[in-house]
Amino acid sequence: MTNSGFVPLKHIIVTQLDAGNGVLVDLNTKQYYQLNETAMLIWRALENGHAFDQIVAELMTVFTVDREHAVASTERLLRKFHERKLVRTAE
């Protein structure tokens, strides 16, 4: 099993709310990002070093969606995290 290919950067702080959503704060740029429950689940999975397939499985279980939908969501959010320089590629 390979990992997701991405690791959260150290200067990114996350804070989670009751509903499972939350906020990411980039201490370098002072930008913050609101995350919905799906994005937060994926961020937590990245923190825990989960593999891509594992993240997809978690999404399918938690949100009762099919694999195609979960794969698309995971790919899209990983791409956004990377574009916004919130994660680095794993070595």
Binding site: I13, T15, L17, A19, G22, V23, Y32, Q34
Partner: protein
């Protein structure tokens, strides 16, 4: 650049205790220590702190050692970091490095040491504009705010009022012009208890996030004083606020002594905005939106890296222990202010 030396805890019980140029103040259950190179600089601090709920204490009465030391210097400040890192702040620049922050404010230099030292050093400007009272106050404010953050106390601009003696508080959060002051005045006259109109400290405790009174006076513009009939409390209206000539000091604790509360647990947050609708109404706000708004109100929550995680955690806990609402203030705030306290109490839930 780094500032060496002992920590606040080392010095709180050591050589500082016998010096006449050291003073201790209690604020929100913490102790801050101020050391001045001479009487004149300590006087600056005293004058500034007199406007806030900082209580001078004798060292003998102080149980725990001070949480933070602020030392005021007059000699040549250390060189500013030769780096482009950092960002602009009001009246100056903030230089950041791995373990400390250096602020250049109106010609004065503030070095906020690494978290484990719990000390902040201030070199006061010798220039004429830098020695202006407003500039010096601003410098001390930056230093005190940084010290408070390292003591687990986060300054927050919000009104804080309570509908009843045993109730949790309602925070009114918004920029200048959002109607915060007018609403605070309206609720005060409607019989609500109060902590502050605009300046408090947030602290994490076993009971939850607490709000503590910080500034001793309210600030209202003339229109708010007149529209709210607060002009009848002539003895409680002070002079104009330096640097904000349109604002007057209002000593609410003098006018309503039985209504003052020094600390409380917030149960609701209102984000007011002025509308031209006839009636005031409230709309629930999602926790994520509320947290984003709080972060916008607290720039140091994302700028002071050493304490940012704890600061953000406090804001996050505040959002989860409260219900948040947008308050759309209508014309009735001016036309029928007596109806507003009841209307708000009816429309919001305070857990």
């Amino acid at each position: 650049m780094s500032v060496g030396g002992s920590t606040a805890r080392d010095r709180g019980r050591g050589d500082l205790s016998t010096s006449k140029l050291v003073e201790y103040y209690s604020v929100a259950d913490r102790i801050l220590c101020f050391k001045g190179v001479d009487e004149s600089v300590l006087n600056l601090a005293r004058k500034f702190l007199g406007g806030y709920y900082f209580t001078p204490i004798n060292l003998a009465e102080a149980g725990p050692p001070p949480a933070h030391l602020i030392e005021l210097h007059k000699n040549t400040p250390p060189a500013l970091p030769a780096t482009d890192s950092g960002f602009e702040i009001e009246d100056g620049h903030c230089f950041t490095s791995n373990d400390q922050i250096v602020l250049e404010v109106s010609g004065s230099t503030i070095v906020i040491g690494p978290p484990e030292l719990n000390r902040t050093d201030v070199w006061l400007s010798e220039s004429t504009p830098g020695r202006h009272q407003l500039a010096l106050n601003n410098v001390i404010l930056y230093a005190v705010q940084a010290a408070l953050r390292r003591a687990g106390l986060y300054q927050f601009h919000a009104g804080c009022v309570l509908p009843g003696n045993d109730s949790k508080a309602v925070l009114l959060v918004g920029d200048s012009g959002s109607g915060k002051s007018t609403l605070t005045a309206t609720l005060l006259l409607g019989g609500w208890n109060f902590v502050t109109d605009d300046n408090l400290l947030l602290a994490d405790s076993s009971a939850g996030i607490e709000a503590w009174a910080l500034r001793r006076y309210f600030t209202f513009d003339e229109a708010t004083l007149q529209n709210s009939n607060l002009t009848s409390f002539k003895q409680s209206i002070g002079g104009r606020v330096p640097g904000k000539a349109e604002k007057f000091r209002f000593y609410a604790r003098q006018a309503f002594p039985e209504k003052f509360v020094d600390t409380c647990l917030p149960g609701a947050i209102l984000f007011p905005t002025v509308t031209h609708e006839p009636k005031t109404r409230v709309e629930p706000l999602e926790q994520g939106d509320a947290l984003a708004r709080l972060i916008r109100q607290c720039p140091w929550a994302t700028c002071d890296a050493a304490v940012a995680p704890l600061h953000l955690q406090v804001l996050s806990k505040l959002v989860t222990q409260t219900r948040s609402y947008t308050l759309l203030a209508g014309r009735d705030v001016f036309d029928d202010p007596g109806s507003i306290p009841g209307l708000i109490a009816q429309q919001i839930e305070i857990p």
